[in-house]
C-alpha cells in the first residue's frame, strides 16, 4: 500500500485547519477596527451637528 496520500493528506488537513484557526481572528480584528472607526465618526458627526 502506498502510504504517501495518507501522510500528505494528514499534513494538508492539519495545515488548513491551523491556518484557518489563525487567520479567522485577524479577519474579526479588521471588522472590529472598522466598527470602532464607524462608531467614532458617527459620534463626531452628532457632536458637530449639536454644537
Amino acid at each position: 500500500m502506498n502510504h504517501a496520500p495518507f501522510i500528505w493528506g494528514s499534513y494538508a488537513i492539519a495545515t488548513v485547519v491551523l491556518l484557518w484557526t489563525a487567520v479567522a481572528p485577524l479577519i474579526s480584528k479588521k471588522a472590529a477596527f472598522k466598527n470602532i472607526r464607524t462608531l467614532n465618526q458617527a459620534k463626531e458627526q452628532s457632536r458637530d451637528t449639536n454644537s
Binding site: F6, S10, A14, T21, A22, K29, A32, F33, R37
Partner: protein, 260 residues
C-alpha cells in the same frame, strides 16, 4: 510618621492587572509576534527532523510519520480542555472578564486540535488497522471531546449577553472535565484497537531519532496555542468594548501604524 502598609503579593497584583482590558490588550500584544516566530521555527525544525531525518519504522514503514502531527494535536486537545476548565473555574469564582474571554477563546482552538487529531488518526488508521474508523473507546471519547468543545462554543454564541453566556459555557466546560480521564485511561480500561501510550513520565518506547521531532512538534503546538489564544482574546476585548475610550485609542494607533 510612617505606616506599614501590607504589601500585596506580586502574583495577586499581576492577576488584578490582567483583569484590566486596556492593560491586558497592551501587555499581551508584545508577546504575539515572538510566540508566532518560535512556533514557526520549532515547526520547521520538528518537521525537518520528523519527515526527512528520522528513519522509517520497522513495522509501519513511512505511515508512522503521521504521528508528528497526530500525537501533538491529540495532546493539545486534552491540555487545552484542562486549561479552559481551569480558566472557567477562575472566571466563575472571581468573575474576571479577561479570564472568561480566554476560557471561551480556548474552545475553538481546542476544537481545531481535536478535529486534526481525529482526522489524522483516521488517515493513520487506514494503512495501519485497515479501516478509517472504529467505535473504539479512545476514538469515541475523543469524538465526545470535540462535541464538548462545540457545545461550549455553541452555548457561548447562543446568548446575547456575553458575560452571562460565558458563565453558562464555563459550567459546561467544567462538567465536561469528566471526559478527560476517560480519554486518557480508555486504552487501559477497555480492550481497544488504539495502541497504549508509548511515552510516559518514566520513559519512552520510541527511539530517540523519532522521539525528538515529536517533542519539538509538541512544544511548537503550545506556542501556536499561546499566540492564537492571545490574538483571539484581544479581538474579543475590542469587540466587547467597541464604545469605550481605550478601543478608540487602539484603533487610532493601528490606523497611524498602517499609514506610516
Amino acid at each position: 510618621m510612617k505606616t506599614d502598609k501590607p504589601r500585596k503579593n506580586p502574583l495577586v497584583m499581576f492577576i488584578h492587572k490582567l483583569g484590566s482590558p486596556p492593560w491586558f490588550y497592551d501587555f499581551t500584544g508584545k508577546f504575539v509576534p515572538w510566540l508566532w516566530a518560535v512556533f514557526a521555527a520549532l515547526t520547521i525544525w520538528g518537521l525537518y527532523l520528523g519527515l526527512i531525518k528520522a528513519p522509517p519504522d520497522y513495522l509501519q514503514g513511512e505511515s508512522y510519520r503521521i504521528m508528528y502531527i497526530h500525537v501533538p494535536a491529540a495532546w493539545m486537545s486534552m491540555m487545552i480542555y484542562v486549561l479552559m476548565a481551569f480558566m472557567s473555574f477562575i472566571a466563575l469564582i472571581w468573575r474576571i472578564r479577561t479570564m472568561e474571554i480566554m476560557a471561551m477563546n480556548s474552545a475553538p482552538i481546542g476544537a481545531a486540535f481535536t478535529l486534526i487529531a481525529l482526522a489524522t488518526g483516521s488517515l493513520w488508521g487506514r494503512p495501519t488497522w485497515g479501516t478509517y474508523w472504529v467505535w473504539d473507546a479512545r476514538l469515541t471519547s475523543e469524538l465526545v471531546l470535540l462535541f464538548l468543545y462545540l457545545g461550549v462554543i455553541g452555548l457561548y454564541k447562543a446568548m446575547d449577553e456575553p458575560r452571562k453566556a460565558a458563565r453558562a459555557a464555563s459550567l459546561l466546560a467544567l462538567v465536561g472535565l469528566v471526559n478527560l480521564p476517560i480519554i486518557h485511561f480508555s486504552v487501559k480500561w477497555w480492550n481497544t484497537l488504539h495502541q497504549g501510550s508509548s511515552i510516559s513520565m518514566t520513559g519512552s518506547k520510541i527511539d530517540a531519532s523519532m522521539l525528538w521531532p515529536l517533542l519539538i512538534m509538541a512544544i511548537a503546538m503550545k506556542f501556536y496555542y499561546g499566540a492564537n489564544l492571545i490574538t483571539r482574546s484581544r479581538v474579543t476585548l475590542l469587540e466587547q468594548d467597541l464604545r469605550k475610550g481605550w478601543t478608540r485609542d487602539v484603533a487610532k494607533d493601528a490606523a497611524r501604524e498602517r499609514n506610516s
